[in-house]
Amino acid sequence: MSKATPDTGAKRPNLFKALEIDTRLLGMIGAFVLICLVFNVITDGRFLTARNIFNLSIQTVSVAIMATGMVFVIVTRHIDLSVGAVLAMCSAVMGVMQVNLLPGVFGLGHPLVAPVTIVAGLVTGTLIGALNGWLVGYQRIPAFIVTLGGLLIWRNFGWYLSDGQTLGPLDQTFLLFGGIEGTLGTLLSWALGIVFAVAAVIAMWRARQAKIRHEFPVKPLWAEATMMAVAVTAILGLIAIFNSYEIPAGRLKRIFEARGEVMPEGFSAAYGLPISVLILVIVAVAMTLLARRTRLGRYIFATGGNPDAAELSGINTRMLTVKVFALMGFLCGLSAVVAQARLANHANDIGTLDELRVIAAAVIGGTALAGGIGTIYGAILGAVIMQSLQSGMAMVGVDAPFQNIVVGAVLVFAVWIDIQYRKRTGEKV
C-alpha cells in the first residue's frame, strides 16, 4: 500500500517529512482511493456518484462510531466482543420506550418522546459498559471472557425486553438520526462546512503558534499552507458531494403535499449533510481531542504502553478501565440510535456481527492488539474502507460468500502490511 518505488524513494520521504504526514495514514488513503477507483471502473461510474457516496456514508456511521471507542479498548490491551449485542440491547430499550411506553405517557408524536428515548438508550449503553469495565478492572476477569458473556447476554436481554417483536413505527423526530430522513439541506451544510474548514485552519495555525512560542522547529510555511488547503478542500469537497445529491422529484412532491402546498414547476432540492454523518464528525473530533489533549487520553495510551508504569505513576488503572468501557458502552448506545433510525424499526438482529466489523475497522485502521497504539481517524477510515468494499462488491454482484471471504482476507492482509511497515521503519512489532 505505502511502498515507495526505489527511484523516487529518496525524494518522496522528504516531501512527506516536510508535510509531517503519517505515511501509514497515507497508505490507507491510497488503498481507499484504489478501492473506489476500481469499483468505479467496474460499475461504469456508478460507485462514485453522489447517491452512492451518500448511502455509503450513512451505512458506515454506526460501525465507525463504535470503532472510535474500540480504539481505546484495544489500546488499553482489552477487547470488547459485546458491542453488537449491547447495541441491540440499547436499541430494544429505545424501541420499547418510543413504541410501547412513552406514547402512553406523553402522547403519540410528543416532542419529548425522542429525547427521552435517546437518553434512555445512551444511559443503558453507558451502564452496561461500566459494568463490563468494573468486571474487567476491579474483578480482574479477562475482557475477552466478560464481553464474550456479554455477547450472549445483552442481545437476548433485548430480545426478552421486546418479546422478540420487531418494534415500529418509530417516532418521527427519532427517525431524523438515521440518515436519509434527516439531512441539513444545502445552505446549512455549506455553512457548517465553512465553519469546520475555518476551525481546522485556526487549529493548525494555533498549533504552529504554540510551537513558535516555545522555539520548537516548525514545518515551512508552504507545507503548513498545503496542509491547510488539503483540509479545507477535503471538508468542502465532501459537503459539495452531499449537496449535489438531489432529492427525487416524487419525494419532494410528497413533502409539499404533506404541507398542503403544491410543488412549483422546476423546483429541486438536495439532501445535504446527513445528521448521522454530522454526529460521526462530532464523535471523531471529540474522541481525537480526548485521545491527544486530555489527561484521560494520555493515561489510556500510557496504560496500553506499560500498565505497570502507569500504575506506578499514580494512575488509577482500574478506574480507567471502567471509564474506557463505559465510553465504549455510551458509543454503542449512540450507534444504536443511528442504526435503529436508519432501519426505521428495532429488530432483534440489529447489529449482528457488528463486534467483528468494529474490531476489524479499528485493526485495519492501525490499532495494535498488543496495546498502546491506535488512532481515531485510522479506525474511521478502516470502517469506511470495509463498508466501501462490501457495498462495492454488492454493487458489482459478487456472491455473498465471496464478499465475506474478501473482507476477511483484507483484514488479515491489512494487519500483515502493518507489521511489514513497522519492521521497515524499525518499530518493534
Partner: protein
C-alpha cells in the same frame, strides 16, 4: 550525621508476606536529609520489596512509616508522591509508546487553562531539565522505546528529580549503564545529596556503595542483618554481611 536530628524517613518494623513467604520480616531502617543509604543483599533478600512499601507500589502487612517524625499513610504511588517521595525503578517504569515529555509528566501533566494537556509547555520543561542532566539528549519527539538504555535512564531520572523530590529511591540506577553514564549518575547523586535530599540506593556493586553511600543496610532472607557506617567498615565486612549474614564486630550500628 547527628542522630538527635529527626530522620527524614523512618521505616519501623516493616513486614510483608506473599502467600506465606516472608519477603520482609520486621525490618527497621531510617534516612536523614543529605544522606545516601545503600540497601544491599542478594537477589530476593527483600530490598526492592521493602522499598516498594515506601514508594506505594506494595502495602505492608504491619509496621509503620514516619516522614519527618510523623506517621505517614502510603497506600499507593499517588500517596508517596504527595510526600515528595520519588522512585527510579529498576525497570524504569516508562511507557514505551510515549515520548520523553509525556513520560516525565505522566500522572502530573501540565494543563492549559482549558484543562487540556499542554504538550508544548511540557516539552519545553523537558528540554530544560534534560539540558542539565544529559545535554546530549535530542530525541524529544520519538517514543522512548526508540532510545538507548542510557537515554531511557536519564528520562526516568529526570522524572524523579523534576518534581522537587525530598526523598529519592533509586533501584539499581546504574545496572544498565556504561561507565560514562554511571559516572554521570554518581555526580548527580552527589549534587542531590548536597541539596539536602535523602536517597535510598539499592545497589549490587560494593564499590559503588563504598563510594556513594554514607551508610549501608544489609538484608538477607527478608531480615535486616544490620546497618553500618560505610567509612567504619571494609569491603570484606560488607561482603560478610551479605553472604554470611554476619555483622562485623566492634562497629556501632
Amino acid at each position: 550525621m547527628s542522630k538527635r536530628e529527626t530522620p527524614l524517613v523512618e521505616l519501623r518494623d516493616i513486614s510483608i508476606a506473599f502467600g506465606g513467604i516472608k519477603a520482609v520480616d520486621h525490618v527497621s531502617i531510617d534516612l536523614y536529609p543529605g544522606e545516601v543509604v545503600g540497601l544491599l543483599g542478594h537477589n530476593g533478600a527483600g530490598k526492592s520489596t521493602l522499598i516498594k512499601c515506601l514508594s506505594g507500589a506494595y502495602q505492608m502487612d504491619s509496621g509503620e512509616i514516619l516522614i519527618n517524625g510523623e506517621k505517614a499513610e502510603i497506600r499507593n504511588p499517588r500517596d508517596a508522591r504527595k510526600y515528595n517521595i520519588e522512585t527510579i525503578y529498576q525497570t524504569l517504569a516508562l511507557a514505551d509508546n510515549l515520548d520523553a515529555a509525556s513520560n516525565l509528566f505522566l500522572g502530573r501533566e501540565l494543563v492549559t487553562p482549558m484543562g487540556f494537556v499542554d504538550d508544548a509547555q511540557m516539552e519545553a520543561e523537558t528540554r530544560k531539565i534534560m539540558g542539565r542532566l544529559n545535554p546530549n539528549f535530542r530525541k524529544f519527539k520519538e517514543p522512548v522505546k526508540a532510545l538507548s538504555g542510557g537515554q531511557r535512564q536519564s528520562v526516568a531520572i529526570a522524572r524523579a528529580v523534576y518534581f522537587n523530590a525530598r526523598i529519592l529511591i533509586m533501584d539499581e540506577p546504574t545496572a544498565a549503564l556504561g561507565p560514562h553514564e554511571t559516572q554521570m549518575v554518581a555526580e548527580l547523586i552527589q549534587e542531590l545529596k548536597a541539596q539536602g535530599l535523602g536517597i535510598f540506593l539499592i545497589e549490587h556493586d560494593i564499590h559503588n556503595v563504598m563510594k556513594l553511600c554514607d551508610r549501608a543496610s544489609v538484608m538477607k532472607n527478608g531480615q535486616l542483618v544490620g546497618t553500618v557506617k560505610v567509612n567504619e567498615v571494609t569491603d570484606e565486612d560488607i561482603l560478610g554481611m551479605i553472604i554470611l549474614g554476619k555483622k562485623p564486630e566492634g562497629v556501632a550500628c
